[in-house]
Symmetry: C2
Subunit: 94 residues, 2 copies
């Protein structure tokens, strides 16, 4: 089980690139802010999430300021890095 | 919307501490490994996730090696850090 659903605003987006196998890939940063309940207390939560989209959804023309709803899974950026990256496999404009 | 569901193994757990308001709090690191589908390709995903539990669930006697299923939300560790932390508000032994 590894499923993240999060909405946010695109605050950085790279140009589309292609893997050696010709698969489109897009790297972006998603800015999220919301109110959450923790130990019965309401608190404001913020985060900036490095994210990537692989495949046809990487061709969706995202631009800074777009508000999107996304779903996917999280993993380490690389074998040598504990930094997290969000692999988006579902995306919808808000 | 900010909801993460993830299962994994406890690979580090701090002693329980209490906030100034007397709320129990527990910091741990969750190690996750799974196979995911991305752009129609199966890939192995690994990550280590800093996590915290606030409230009574923080008193659950977790120990290294425990396999757990969790649900919660993600946020920045602090206002000055983009490092992510997983706020667990549901936990179940696997």
């Amino acid at each position: 089980m590894n499923c993240l659903e999060i909405s946010g605003e695109v605050c950085h987006v790279d140009p589309v690139r292609y893997t050696p196998a010709g698969i489109p890939a897009l790297n972006l940063i998603l800015k999220h802010s919301s109110e959450q309940i923790e130990a019965n207390l309401k608190r404001t939560i913020n985060c900036e999430l490095s994210a990537k989209i692989m495949g046809n959804d990487a061709l969706i023309p995202l631009k800074i300021g777009d508000r999107i709803k996304t779903k996917g899974f999280i993993g380490n950026k690389s074998a040598k890095s504990n930094q997290l990256i969000f692999h988006i496999n579902f995306i919808e404009y808000l």
